[in-house]
């Protein structure tokens, strides 16, 4: 039985520049699938490419075909093999199965637990089916990977938790405000993390973005970037009337937003909720503001605490998820092994049938007094005896139990029955099971 082989490069092994070069578009995927189909040494294949990984999964007929695949990618992508060979990982057999399960379950993603990956895997599988490149093994493998992914999603909390500061801030905003698209954001100061938080919020289509900066010119530049409005830093208290979420990240040494300012603003805005996200160190927003009714202040430490709790929880969940992957791997391996047993069982059956037929052909011509029905009855009886005789050994081969080495028993059986397996069984597709 040929093993499954997986060649790939992902965010763990290749920098983004290389991943970009190796990435397959939909047309390129189809072309690669056609190549796999045409390649005589490959029985089944699948191509999986996202912005974070490109993976080729296939089942070779003979040899491992790794070099052929690398050459194909090199030729197709017009990229010398030396440039990407070191970034490749090559998995075989169980390793490859485990890897594809892990990927589908989003355990190997850049953002572990992100939900898009399963859809991408499904799309890759669909392409392989459309191209006619997938067969029994890949079909079963992929379906199994979908069910593992679903189980992980359903039974672990792996996709539940915010594990970046800006994501945690957005999640909090979602639990404070019901509809972010009706809310406005004000960015005080500038900074990478603050901008990231704004971008996260922007993905929820907030209504308006105000940018205030001590240097008005900077405010204008940033406002242009976010398609927002620049306001003067001194206008920030007045602006509290218009905005609902304030992200602050200035280099100021004193609070840029005091309790009194917010109390005054609260009255003007009819006590509509205000959410302050303070990313600055030292802090920009007076923590006492959190005591004001309908005002919430989260500073960088609060957000970090949430993220850390979430990461810890997620690690626990990852252990559980990996167990699901291992369970699925064992089940799939057992299925694969049962495939290896089938040709042997078929050979034993065929051999017994041949013996029965041979003996009947020798004996029956000497018994001319028998009616047609008698002949038929004898044929049936002898066949039944033969199949009864091999019934238990076959049952044993089919289900040798978990702790035994299946291949050992298959070998013993072959020797016992002196099966010289004809060529045709070795490559027989096992569609019958």
């Amino acid at each position: 039985m040929s093993e499954i082989i997986l060649i790939g490069a992902s965010h763990k092994t290749a920098p983004v520049e290389l991943r970009e070069k190796l990435s397959f578009s939909q047309e390129e995927t189809m072309a690669a699938l056609e190549f796999m189909k045409a390649q005589p040494g490959i029985r089944e294949g699948l191509v999986f490419s996202t912005c974070n990984r490109t993976e080729l999964l296939y089942i070779p007929e003979q040899g491992d075909q790794v070099e052929e695949m690398i050459q194909f990618v090199s030729a197709h992508k017009e990229l010398p093999a030396e440039q990407f060979r070191s970034a490749l990982y090559i998995f075989q057999g169980d390793e490859a199965i485990r890897h594809i399960f892990t990927v589908a379950a989003s355990l190997d993603s850049m953002m572990v637990g992100e939900p898009q990956i399963l859809g991408q895997v499904k799309k890759a599988y669909k392409s392989a089916v459309t191209a006619g490149a997938s067969g029994v093994l890949i079909n079963r493998l992929m379906h199994k990977s979908f069910s593992v992914a679903k189980r992980v999603r359903k039974e672990t909390g792996i996709g539940d938790n915010a594990v970046s500061i800006s994501y945690a801030a957005t999640e909090l905003a979602c639990k404070i405000f019901s509809d972010l698209s009706a809310k406005s954001v004000m960015l005080l100061g500038a900074g990478e993390m603050a901008e990231l938080a704004v971008e996260h919020l922007l993905s929820h289509n907030v209504k308006e973005i105000l940018v205030a900066n001590r240097t008005f010119k900077h405010a204008v530049t940033l406002a242009e970037k976010f398609n927002g409005t620049a306001v003067h830093f001194e206008e920030r208290e007045a602006a509290l009337e218009r905005v609902d979420i304030i992200i602050s990240s200035t280099g100021a040494t004193a609070y840029v937003m005091t309790r009194d300012q917010v109390k005054r603003a609260m009255k003007r805005r009819q006590h509509n909720t205000l959410f302050f996200i303070d990313i600055a160190v030292p802090r920009d927003i007076d923590p006492k503001i959190n005591k004001i009714s309908n005002a919430y202040v989260y500073d960088i430490d609060d957000l970090k605490n949430i993220v850390e709790t979430n990461i810890q929880q997620r690690e626990q969940e990852t252990i559980k998820a990996r167990r699901f992957v291992e369970e699925a791997l064992v089940a799939f391996r057992r299925w694969l092994d049962s495939l290896a047993v089938v040709p042997t069982i078929k050979a034993i059956n065929d051999k017994m049938t041949a013996i029965v037929d041979m003996e009947l052909d020798k004996t029956l011509p000497g018994l001319s007094h028998l009616t047609e029905q008698d002949v038929e009855a004898i044929r049936r009886m002898t066949r039944a005896i033969a199949s009864r005789a091999i019934h238990d050994p076959i049952l044993f081969l089919r289900n040798t139990g978990d702790h035994r080495d299946d291949s050992l028993y298959v070998n013993v059986a072959r020797q016992l029955f002196n099966l010289d397996l004809p060529e045709q069984y070795k490559n027989s597709r096992t569609d019958s099971i």
Partner: protein, 275 residues
């Protein structure tokens, strides 16, 4: 009487199961469990309605002649109002609050002795029925407002305290809880107002006076004032969120006291309904 009893007990049982279902939903967060629990509440309300209609037909009037019947009527009003609010806002976890309240009411209904009372000839007519319907549905809506208020306070506690824990994922946003609570308060307040007005008209038609200085009258007007103040403060001084939630809970506590406490402790002409 037999059919009425069986349907009533069946509805009580269904309320209990739905409460257990909502508890499961709280922990497991499976939409399917919530849907089944909601359907159970629906079935319970239907069965409850049948029971009340049968009792009413037999008594020849609204069945609110003693404590058990009044409680049962309050439960029915609460159940129907909850189904409407659930349909309108789809605040799934509110079902836990509603099913708990309903189970508590129905437990009392099933356990307390239902001493038969001869129907009062006075307790009839359009104004009387409107008074009952408005008051009961209005108070049910205010009860749900208190439920949303409790959920608000739980969620707020987690966010303000910077420890988003068990409830953080399980409860919706503060804004939404406040919206639901506010909508329930405005609706409940309007119904309560109608209920009081029809009650006055009924009093005029029966006793010849609008106002009898009955304890329940005083407390009802007191409750009405509390909610009027809440709405006023919300509209003019921005009492939303935390304060509104607290007020909704306090208001509902006063309602419960008005419904039960006044009759049991203070007496008055509403007393027979809760004996």
């Amino acid at each position: 009487m037999e059919t009425a009893n069986i349907t009533l007990q069946l509805s009580a049982l269904l309320y209990f199961i739905s409460m257990a279902g909502y508890l499961c939903y709280l922990f497991h967060q499976k939409d399917r469990i919530q849907q089944i629990s909601l359907m159970l509440v629906g079935a319970a309300v239907a069965s409850h309605l049948v029971a009340v209609v049968i009792t009413g037909t037999q008594a020849g009037g609204l069945p609110i002649n003693n404590l058990v019947q009044s409680l049962s009527m309050a439960g029915l009003a609460f159940g129907i109002t909850f189904l409407y609010v659930q349909y309108r806002f789809n605040l799934k976890i509110l079902g836990l609050f509603a099913a708990t309240i309903l189970s508590a009411i129905m437990l009392a209904v099933v356990v307390l002795p239902d001493t038969p009372v001869p129907p009062d000839k006075l307790l009839k007519g359009f104004w009387f029925v409107s008074h009952i319907v408005f008051i009961f549905t209005g108070e049910a809506a205010l009860g749900l407002a208190a439920g949303a208020g409790i959920l608000y306070l739980i969620q707020e506690q987690g966010i303000k305290g910077k420890r988003p824990g068990f409830f953080f994922k399980r409860l919706p946003s503060l804004d939404f809880l406040d919206q639901v609570s506010y909508a329930c308060i405005t609706t409940g307040f309007a119904l309560l107002t109608f209920g009081l007005v029809t009650g006055f008209i009924y009093a005029q038609s029966v006793w010849g006076r609008f106002w009898n200085w009955d304890f329940k009258e005083i407390f009802s007007v007191g409750t009405w004032t509390v909610y009027a103040a809440l709405l006023h403060l919300r509209l003019y001084s921005g009492w939303r969120g935390h304060r509104s939630a607290v007020m909704a809970i306090v208001g509902f506590a006063i309602i419960i006291f008005t419904f039960l406490g006044v009759n049991l402790i203070l007496g008055g002409h509403h007393q027979p309904f809760t004996q």
